[in-house]
Every structure is written in structure tokens, then in C-alpha cells.
Symmetry: C2
Amino acid sequence: MISYGSAGMNGGGGRVRKASGLTLAQRMLLELRPQITEQRANRSSVIAHEGDHVSHFLLLLDGWIGLSKALYDGQTQFVDLLLPGDAILMSSSGASAAPFSAEALSDVRYIAFGEEMINGPEPAAARLRSHLVSSVAIRQARMSESLLRIGQGSAEMRISFALLELFVRLEAVGRTDGQKFHLPMNQRQLGQFTGLSNVHVCRTLRRFERNRVITSADHIDIEIVDIGALCDMADIDLDALRAEIVPTLPD
Amino acid sequence: MISYGSAGMNGGGGRVRKASGLTLAQRMLLELRPQITEQRANRSSVIAHEGDHVSHFLLLLDGWIGLSKALYDGQTQFVDLLLPGDAILMSSSGASAAPFSAEALSDVRYIAFGEEMINGPEPAAARLRSHLVSSVAIRQARMSESLLRIGQGSAEMRISFALLELFVRLEAVGRTDGQKFHLPMNQRQLGQFTGLSNVHVCRTLRRFERNRVITSADHIDIEIVDIGALCDMADIDLDALRAEIVPTLPD
DNA sequence: CGGCCATTTGACCGTTATCAACCGTAGTGG
DNA sequence: CCACTACGGTTGATAACGGTCAAATGGCCG
């Protein structure tokens, strides 16, 4: 049995019920294939490269992973972020290559496993497959939202949306502490996620702080002070967002 | 049996082998559920609304469908385009709502069907499921590419990329005529796809024409004149793009 | 003909990128 | 304890890119 680190600040506001989802998927997989073992990677290490011929799923146990694509000149865009409990299909079935890189944004623990591990007839395999399909569908919804903000929104909207997306997702896995959460990305990476320059990310965040929308002592722990203002700027309804980009777990 | 319209100009350059994919998925589905019938919608009609509680797949037989999301003020972004043969899961399994709208960009013929239609144990159902999974994976790869260009690229890059993406995809289903293809979108819609204003789309296309990169008599039929220049501007390798965003079909 | 719609073009301006300088913090080695 | 370095954040100046507004053009259709 893989023990489940105590990592969490798991505070008041979180919907703790859903935190079980993380262990759920993990439990299913281990029940099915006890021989699979946990892997680790350090912050900034690249777990898989765009174009690599990796044929497997990742199930993230702890930490953050950024999925990115880059232009030839090095300009990079994060396509999605994996948070604890998220799973991803790195290469579509068949002979194709990974469409993006996976980089550890913090120290991470994860499980990697091939398609063959889960396409058996066991009920546990079936449940795991449906978990993975739903995770792909949720990712598609998240990427759609990102496309909308990045394509049509201002810097203010993009940043406020990114903060809220992360807050809502972390809340769902019990990784928030009231309105506070840990954001293991620097401003450059936040820019790569929102399609902005690091400088403009900085300016925008500073403006948010001046306007008492967020506070942060150390730039890595964010507290949302005025979540209403943030939602207005991001042009979202918080509950609708939750329903859309947070996995609903079967039990 | 649904007869298969002669719609196509199916000219020299296309990789005609793959055009069978369209009929393949269709054949599988009909073999499985003969009672399913084809539906039609006219240009500009909305087939499904963002947030609707549609629980089904769409399999597009002919025409183009735009998948879009909108901000409250009406600003719209196309998240992906469906071309003939493409399938999509409109709502993730379970109780969730459609994350985007589907609008007919041209007159279309399609098939809609529920999950229950394809989760049986028949081999045909299994093949269809895997076709749908791979179609979701390909869509994810395409959306990743779009995010990269829209987040990091210039208008020139976004437009050249969009043209090449569509060319490559149409080519794969035998809907190109040499370097020419039919593009049933106005400049406003092209802007919604690339995250640009209609005015800037116009300017950029005009520049491409002045530079002899493309030509177009009527704005709806595009001919790529200098595909090398287009690839340079889009920062892509054409074969790599094909491998990434065009479905590879089993037979 | 007149109305409608999409495209085109010019003028103007705001947002955001870029460049550069400076600062604070943490880590390293004397 | 201090010098030195590295890194990320902050801030200002400047410029470019692309949005907005407005007007003109042109095709299409009643």
C-alpha cells in the first residue's frame, strides 16, 4: 500500500469529500496491478518530452506537473496543469508521439502505467478506464476555457481566471486553507500559462494586491481576499466553473 | 443504408486512402445500431448550446461545425472545428453539461447518438469506442497547438497555422483539390478561431496575398501558393503536424 | 434601385511586449 | 561575517502589435 503523505494543509473551506478521489483512483489501480510502484521527480525536471514516444498514462499523486508545448524559438505555453489526483494519457493509443512535455513544477510523486495495464475485463479496470476518460473530458473543458480567456480576454481576465481555476481545483482535492493556497510557479511560468510576459504578470498581480483582491507575503502562497471581484474580472460564476472543470467522482 | 453524398471535390493532392475513415466510423455505427438516422442542420444554426444537458456524441458526416465558447459580453472563441468524419463527445459521461456550443458553419449532415448506443460488448461497439477515444485525444492535441499559437504567437503565425491545420485535415479526408480548399468561414469567424479581430484577419490575409503566399478569388476558396513560406510563418513541419493532428485510422 | 452584409482601408489609441536597471533573498565560499 | 553570485520580482521608458472606430467599396438579393 502506498502511504499517502501528510502534505496537505486541509483547511476549512475545502470540499473534503472529494479529496478521496485521489486515493480512489490510486486504490483502484493498485488493487488491479499490485506490482506498480510509485515514482518521484524533482522540481524542474522534465518527466516526458514533447514528441517522445511514451506510451503510458500518468497518475499524479502529489505535487504539480505542467504540460507544455514550445515553439522552435523556445517560447513556451502551458497547455494544462496537473494537480494531485489528476491523470493523463500522454500519447494517444497507437503509434503516436506525446503532443506535449510534462515538467515537474514542484517535487512530485506519480505512477506511470501502460495501456495494457488497464484494458482487462476486470470491473476495477473498467472503472479505471472510465475515470481516465472522464479525466480527458474534464481536461478538454479546461482547455476550452483557457482558449476562450487567452483568445478573447485581457491580461486581467486571464490572471484572475487562472487563479480561480487553480483555487477551485485545489479546493476539490483538499489542498486549500480557507481562501489561501500554495502556488508553486514563478511569474514567468504564470505568464507561460496565461500567454503573458513575466513583466506583465507582475504588474497585474501587483495591481490585484493594491486593489485588495489578493494578498501574498512570499509570492508563492496566495490568499484570495475579494473572491467576488476576482470572479467579476474573470467573467465566471464560481459554481458553474466548479461543475465544469472539477471532476465529479462516482463515490 | 445511408447513402454517401458526392459532395467532394476529391482532387489530386489528397491522401485519399484516409478518406475511407469517414465511412468507416459511419459503417461501424450503422452496423451496430441500424435504427440510427442521419440528421441535418442549416448553416448558422446552433446544434447544441454551451451548458445544455445533451448527453450524446456527434459524428459529422458532411459540412463544418464550429465548437465555441462565449464570454458574457458575447465575445466568442472557437475551440475546435469539426470537419467531415470527426466525432465528438458533447458532454462528459455523467451528469455534466456541454462545455461548448456547436454551430453549423455550413449546411451539415450528422449522426447523434447516446452513450448507451455504444457501450455494449459487441466488437463493433469496442472499435467504435476506441475510435471515439482516439478522436478525443486528437482533439486534445489540436487544442494544445491552438493554445500555443494563440498564447505565444503573432497574428501572422496564428493565421498561417489555422490555414495549414485546415488544409492538412481536409487533405486527410479527401476534401482538397491540389493546394486549394473550401473555407466556409467569414473573417469574423476566422478571428474567433484565431483570437483576432475581423479587421486584423483581413489585413493579415491581404498581406499574405500581396506576398504571393495564398490566393483567393472569392474569399471562400483558398489556394496555398507558397506552402513553404506558410509553414515558416506558422513555425511548423508539415509532416509532424499531420502526424499530430490528423487521426491515424486502423484500416 | 435600395438595403444588407462582408470586406477593405485609414486613422488613432490602448494594451502589452521588450529592454534595462535596480532590489531583495538565498546560497556559496572565502 | 562578508563578498559574490544567481534568481526572481519590481519598476520605468519605449515601441510594436493589434483593437476600435469610421467610412468607403462591392457583391447579392428582394
